[in-house]
Assembly symmetry: C2
Homo-oligomer: 456 residues x 2
């Protein structure tokens, strides 16, 4: 039994949905199909989810958004017409959307979650109808009916353990289930979405729930690559990698797979395969629990920008029990999460994602650190990138950090921060944002320059 | 006007004290002489401070320690006799010691501080008497009379800012002042000691207090070396280094200079010179505010052992605002200070000095992290060394970390942790304790292998 998830570009048009149908018909083990909202058909196109956000926000603000509603319906209509699906489906989608627009207007968080989630939900209904029209025994299933219970955090839901007691029953379902990604329901019955990109999460939860033999994640690339193809020319394809490697890479900027999506699959030991809807005969990338890493201690190089550093210096800081805790308390009071805390004897830095920091917050933080912690010096620096080298073999292979730092030295990239020591599978190098691409290219050349195009 | 501090080995015997007298007579700018307690005369000898600790502890425990008292007096007596100082000095020291032994017995902290500090105090009296006997205008000065006010933390005193208002008056003193190192007095008049090795601190405070042109720190080596001579064969001599470099190196294991001692000198911009009592004509090591670092980005390699790592793993840790703060709170509740906190996505480690950790404390910490923070995995690993590469030029020189990590790779030393990013002058590499010497040797060879014996 397999769960197959199709991303936005795989279900963006009638042509793409025909490929999905072919993929499903080809393997009868593909019992659960998780779908995203229609994505972009070409570079200049809009994703349905973005249209829905526009629609929802305008409707809340002005009470009127008819042309935005029609733009959404038009996307479904063009697909339905080309696929020659019964016209009733569009009426059904329109009714559903108008109902959502009329409900929960007093609660913008819940309202927007419901509008956004309609992209996946209605696309699942449409795809189920199409599959049925091709003669397949396919049914749309709503997450509420399936028992996909999640925590009540709009836009940030987490699956609740009791959901799995319900989901296991889907094993007994006859035929193919078409399931919308991206959302579940709270125990009180409210629709709540996962973080964006959350259809991957839905797929992983269902795969774990039915104890699938495989979770297939269909996207628009042949595999996961060892580096970002926009930065490195024709990077090698990764054939096999571990959950931990994928999770670290996606956290550090690999967009192919949502970084939290792997956890349910990992916990139940479900293998994950990343495949290409447009080229389904290629084997893709298998994500599994363990791999041989003797020949490839490093599997990928990722980079993410937009980091700031809060630098704090105080003489005899290291003698002051509680200094670090009080520093983190100040950040916590502002609701900030941090990434790394490199520390010297008399100084410490906190590295965090800068989108969290408003100007006002920065002033408050600096003032509090100066006044409450009596720091000698405090300042905030911006525009850092975190470059991450990931690989299961790193921890036990002497010399990975040597090769990495030498490669950056050759490329004249100054290393502002190094963090190694807690994660066994990654090494983080902080560099100035303008050096990030050059850093990734140099590291790629060092670890993959001699490769023949794929790594096992 | 100069302050000259003489360490334990420089005042261990009559022969050594004659050298001290010659050094003082030679330069009339040496107006304040800070002395330690008599140190070891040879490898198998005892330091007077250790004899005093034995004496104090036994006296407190049993009320009787006459032979221990005689052992201390015997050290002073042998010096006084050989130097032909008036016999009254020994009577004076004996009276002083018996008085200390009879006072503050209800308060062991204050009692022990007073007993320990007598080593420096009585040695200062003895040396002042000797200098006077040679015809020098020398006076013993008690820290209370000088106004050396410190915080009331037994064994861990810090100078109070108001002390400097008094100490400046010492500039007007006629002749040479002989001043005992290691202790001051609280505003309430209680004797309080600095951390051990604190005579360096006294010297630095006095140098700052009288705005000396130079603080000379006389010891038993010709200079500060770029690495521990017990680990590296004939390491190069450092001729000039900055305060920050010295402070980081001494924190990381260089025993030549107490790591907190530099701060008063640094704050007032007093240059510090480390010189050899046994070879006073060599220039020694100058410690100053700035140096040219173009040719020597790295100035020294230190290593210190006895570190433990508390490893904590929890899925989605990085999403949990406050996790790090709550982790540090648990350590703070146990009174623990930490050194580094390397962190991954789902895991973090806290590195701390393991002498702080009792077995019971470890159990409590692990339990609390599991139960209160709901961590998936927690364990403590021991026997790590922190190897520190120090140099003003490190931050702006591309490739220092590359050379360091490559050197360790060649020496087959696995790097367990790297911390770079907060301090601009150091890079910390965590290694297993058994690899530490090999790591220092490899790094020394990399950064100093081609040197001709000294670095500027």
């Amino acid at each position: 039994m397999k769960v197959a998830k199709f991303g936005g570009s795989s279900v963006a048009s009638a042509e793409q949905i025909r490929k999905v149908a072919a993929i499903i018909s080809e393997d009868h083990d593909r019992k659960i199909v998780v779908v995203s909202a229609p994505g972009k058909r070409d570079k200049n196109d809009s994703k349905v989810t973005d249209l829905l956000i526009e629609l929802g926000e305008l409707s809340l603000a002005t009470g009127e958004a008819e042309s935005e509603l029609q733009a959404v319906l038009e996307r479904y209509r063009s697909i339905a017409e080309e696929l020659k699906i019964d016209g009733d489906i569009i009426t059904l989608i329109e009714t559903d959307l108008r109902e959502r627009l009329a409900t929960n207007r007093h609660n913008p968080g819940v309202f927007m979650d419901s509008i956004k989630a309609s992209g996946e939900d209605n696309n699942a209904k449409l795809i189920a109808a199409y599959l049925k029209s091709t003669g397949l025994n396919a049914t749309y299933l709503n997450p509420k009916d399936a028992g996909l219970l999640v925590s009540d955090e709009p836009g940030n839901a987490q699956v609740l353990p009791e959901a799995y007691d319900q989901l296991i029953k889907l094993r007994d379902h006859e035929g193919v289930i078409v399931f919308p990604g991206f959302f579940g329901y709270s125990p009180e019955g409210t629709l709540v979405t996962f973080p964006r990109g959350g259809s991957d999460i839905t797929g992983a939860i269902l795969a774990a729930g039915i104890q699938a033999e495989l979770y297939e994640n269909f996207t628009d690339v042949d595999s996961v690559y060892a580096a970002n193809p926009n930065v490195v020319n024709e990077p090698v394809e990764i054939k096999r990698m571990t959950y931990r490697e994928m999770r670290e890479l996606s956290y550090a900027g690999f967009s192919v797979f949502h970084d939290e999506a792997l956890i349910p699959a990992f916990r139940k030991g479900i293998p994950v395969c990343v495949k290409n809807t447009n080229n389904p005969s290629t084997s893709g990338t298998m994500i599994i629990a363990e791999r041989e890493y003797f020949f490839n201690p490093v599997i990928g190089i990722a980079a993410d920008d937009g980091f700031s550093t809060i630098y704090v210096r105080k003489y005899l800081m290291n003698r002051e029990v509680g200094f670090g805790r009080r520093l983190l308390q100040i950040l916590e009071d502002e609701g900030l999460s941090y990434e790394h805390i490199p520390s010297g004897i008399d100084d410490t830095s906190v590295i965090l994602r800068e989108h969290q920091l408003t100007d006002e917050m920065q002033e408050r933080i600096i003032d509090r650190i100066k006044n409450e912690l009596h720091a000698d010096d405090v300042y905030i620096e911006k525009d850092f990138s975190m470059v991450m080298i990931v690989g299961e073999g790193m921890h036990n292979t002497v010399g990975v950090s040597a090769r990495a730092t030498a490669a950056l030295a050759r490329a004249h990239v100054n290393i502002e921060m190094i963090n190694q020591g807690s994660s066994e599978v990654s090494l983080v190098l902080g560099v100035h944002q303008e050096d990030a691409d050059r850093a990734v290219q140099a590291l790629y050349e060092e670890f993959f320059g001699a490769s023949d195009g794929t790594i096992q």
